[in-house]
């Protein structure tokens, strides 16, 4: 092979490999995206809300927390001041979980109107400020962190 032919072959190989990888990556991403929604957005989405993995952010509504110790889950409502969604989260509550706290739950919305999650993230920041009703959901996400945060 001449030098030019080799370079051409190399370029073609790289382009093909990149395109294939890009396609796989894009397809893989499409299936594994996690959407960040507020209760209002979830309610407005209607049937589109059934299926995809959603991170639902809001405040734990006062007086709605029930802890089922035997079946090992907690039920509560998440509100953004306008709408509320009933949530059932697998597992016991963490020590810092309480009514009125800001949370993000990750899971799926079922047709029976319950949001079932297996991951609960609690607002947990150094500069603690009491969350307020009607706080924009984007603001909440900014201060929300995963396992632990700073």
């Amino acid at each position: 092979m001449s030098a030019t032919a080799r370079i051409t072959a190399g370029v073609v190989a790289v382009v093909v490999a990149a395109a294939a990888l890009g396609y796989i990556a894009y397809g893989g991403i499409g299936e594994n995206l996690v959407y960040y929604w507020s209760p209002t957005e979830l309610v407005q989405a209607g049937p589109r809300a059934f299926g995809p993995i959603i991170r639902l952010g809001g405040l734990v509504k006062q007086g709605t927390v029930e802890w089922n110790k035997e079946a090992n889950f907690i039920a509560f409502q998440v509100t953004d001041g306008k709408e509320q969604v009933k949530v059932e989260n697998t597992g016991a509550p963490t020590q810092m979980f309480r009514e009125g706290i800001g949370v993000v739950v990750e899971g799926t919305f079922s047709t029976d109107g319950v949001f079932r999650s297996n991951r609960l993230m609690v607002k947990h920041s150094n500069e603690y400020r009491a969350p307020q009703d009607g706080v924009p959901v984007e603001e909440l996400y900014k201060t929300m962190e995963e396992e632990v945060n700073r």
Binding site: A25, Y36, A92, P93, Q95, M96, H124, E145, E147, V148
Partner: protein
């Protein structure tokens, strides 16, 4: 006083680095040479000033001098001395100060080590390297100055982030990671010098390898220590979550690994010069991208320090470097093109090439998954994140592919091969792979990907052991040397080969540990009254009661669990929740009982106010501790490979090579 002297030291450092940078970069012009000694001197001056500044900051921290802004930010009279010292890198401004010192240190080391060599390339290399130094000095002196004076002087500070006070690994993980990150600046500068001068001779390639392998090792140690820290401190029951910041450290590690392999190919066969150079440039650019992602607050994660103004500056630095690299590469790459030729598809060369493609593919897919949410947020104003399943689905096959090539590559000969030769070379490794697979099946391992990993790891491990043992056996057989003498001779003459295969051996075993710990994790969660038990795997975990413990800097709520395995009493494990004065919510510390076969890992979720019941999550992580146990093997391998070979040993090396060629 500390404020004044600290700022002055950084400013003098900046002046030295800036002058050195200008002198060094101007040596790109052939007519200007001869200031090499001055540039070296300026590099030394810069590192001395930055060492002084870091020393002053540590002094201010230890002396609780709250008139210094950084001390007021992270210092506290109640923090133990050890954590006071390591809080030098506990927050943004201090970590950048330390960072600036590290890059200054690397630059000065490169200047010192290569002072009698590479007269043509060194001034420019130091110029580019000092450019990076000057950038960090500038950040520290201006935007993020940790020495800024505070008035009125506060009586006490909040102390470092409690997460960083929870474990001694905090003293190790950040500096190792920084040493890996900033160390990439030297090979970057060397690659740029090679491109500008159009010279990539084999002694320069060897120097590149040396200067890349050291930061590579540091980065590896930093990543593993980070995973270990995450596992021991964060208490979510894992060591890797594809967090954007973990990815940020993983990306340059991937390209650096690919770079080290293609450098070897370039040195041995004079091929893939352009590709290798591109990997070297990309590695540094990815560290800058990673720094941007971790230090600008665009991501929320364990590592994101509070919003800061340095985001746009880093983005600008990244853009300028990227543009410069692309232009330089396009204009100059034909000047350094290799003269060698690739072998047949079934040769060691192609294995190297495919290995490189897989590494780059993995880099690409991690990069896409990491920056995708940033792009959709910026372009479509849509808040999303990319789930862990994406990364696992992509990384597992690519990782297994890399493991496959790690076994097959060294087993293949250079150039070309025949079918009979192939059969001879692959027979024993294949048997070892099948044996490993059989062993895994017999202890109950199931699942396609994990089993594939175990089989391939057996194959690769056999190849590595055989590659280490073969020259020793040859010496014993052909030269009649004793086993001890032959081993000593081989270690003296083939350090790179021995070291490289030791690293491969360690990596094969780490692959097994990762596959087992992620595929066969078991867990059980329950809320227990005192005396009640939960079963996980072979263990029964009984809640024995809760207690409190007051320390100067925190209050801990501790739950005691009695652990039994059948009739065997395994003692008490005590996961805890720690309360720090500066935050309302507690931080958990899991109880980890480490073992060769598996770890038992207890996470305390909550304790009732009266101590009558507690919620616990009990997990079993098979083989996970091997990930950390095997790190010394990697360090040993790299140390052997980096140890300079004695000149007098060289003839023996050729004789050994000749003996090897003569054998059937």
């Amino acid at each position: 006083m500390v404020s004044l002297f600290g700022t002055l030291a950084v400013l003098v450092g900046l002046a030295a680095a800036g002058t050195g940078m200008v002198l060094g970069l101007s040596s790109a012009d052939r007519r200007r040479t001869g200031s090499a000694a001055l540039i070296r001197g300026l590099a030394y001056a810069n590192v001395c000033m930055l060492a002084l500044a870091n020393g002053l900051m540590v002094y201010a921290l230890v002396a609780h001098d709250f008139s210094v802004s950084y001390v007021a930010e992270v210092g506290s009279r109640s923090t133990p001395l050890f954590f006071t010292i390591v809080s030098l890198w506990a927050s943004l401004n201090g970590s950048l100060l330390f960072w600036a010192f590290m890059v200054a240190l690397y630059t000065a080391l490169a200047a010192r080590v290569c002072r009698h060599r590479f007269a043509e390339l060194m001034p420019l290399t130091l110029g580019v390297s000092l450019l990076v130094c000057a950038f960090f000095d500038f950040l520290v002196a201006g935007v993020t100055n940790p020495f800024a004076p505070v008035t009125p002087v506060p009586p006490d500070g909040p102390g470092p982030n409690p997460l960083l006070q929870n474990h001694p690994l905090m003293a190790f993980h950040p500096p190792a990671l920084y040493a890996g990150y900033v160390g990439m600046a030297v090979p970057y500068a060397m690659v740029i010098a090679a491109l500008v001068k159009g010279k990539l001779e084999s002694d320069w390639v060897r120097a590149l390898r040396l200067w890349m392998i050291l930061p590579w090792l540091c980065l590896t140690l930093g990543i593993v220590a980070g995973g270990w820290w995450s596992y021991e401190v964060l208490g979510w029951g894992g060591y890797w979550a594809w967090d954007p910041v973990e990815n940020a450290s993983f990306l340059p590690w991937l390209t650096a690994t690919a770079f080290l392999h293609s450098l070897y190919l370039l040195e041995r066969r004079r091929v893939l010069a352009g590709w290798t150079v591109a990997l070297g440039l990309a590695t540094f650019l990815l560290t800058v991208l990673g720094t941007f992602m971790t230090r600008s607050g665009v991501f929320n994660s364990v590592h994101s320090f509070t919003q800061s103004a340095i985001g746009p500056i880093f983005l600008g630095f990244l853009a300028a470097n990227l543009l410069g690299c692309v232009l330089l590469f396009a204009l100059r790459v034909d000047k350094i093109a290799g003269r060698g030729s690739m072998g047949k598809p079934l040769s060691r060369e192609s294995a190297f090439l495919f290995n490189n493609l897989l590494f780059v593919g993995l880099t690409f897919m991690v990069l896409v998954g990491t920056v995708f949410p940033l792009l959709t947020d910026a372009l479509r104003d849509q808040k999303i994140s990319v789930g862990e399943p994406y990364f696992n689905r992509m990384a597992v096959p690519l990782g297994v592919g890399i493991l496959f090539l790690m076994g097959v590559g060294p087993a293949l000969p250079w150039g070309s091969t025949t079918l009979t030769d192939l059969r001879r070379r692959f027979l024993l490794p294949l048997a070892a792979g099948i044996a490993a697979l059989g062993l895994a099946l017999s202890v109950g391992a199931r699942g396609v990907w994990p089993l594939l990993t175990f089989g391939l790891a057996g194959f690769a491990a056999w190849v590595s052991i055989a590659e280490i043992a073969a020259p020793i056996r040859l010496r014993v057989r052909n030269k009649g040397e004793s086993l001890g003498k032959a081993t000593r001779r081989v270690f003296a003459t083939s350090r790179r080969r021995i070291g490289g295969h030791l690293v491969h051996l360690g990596i094969s075993a780490i692959f097994v540990a990762i596959a087992a710990s992620s595929a066969y994790k078991e867990q059980a969660a329950a809320t227990l009254n005192v005396g009640q038990a939960v079963q996980v795997g072979p263990y029964s975990v009984t809640f024995a009661g809760a207690r409190g413990e007051q320390e100067p800097h925190r209050y801990s709520l501790i739950a005691d669990f009695k652990v039994r395995r059948g009739d065997q009493d395994l003692g008490v494990q005590s996961p805890r929740l720690n309360y720090y004065a500066t935050r309302r919510e507690p931080l958990g510390t899991p109880a980890v009982s480490e073992g060769f076969r598996h770890d038992l890992y207890l996470i305390l979720l909550n304790v009732a106010e009266d101590g009558s019941h507690a919620s616990v999550e009990a997990q079993i992580h098979p083989l996970v501790a091997w990930i950390w146990y095997l790190v010394p093997v990697l360090v040993l391998g790299i140390a052997i490979a980096m140890w300079p070979e004695r000149k007098s040993a060289l003839p023996a090396a050729t004789a050994e090579g000749a003996a090897r060629r003569a054998s059937p």
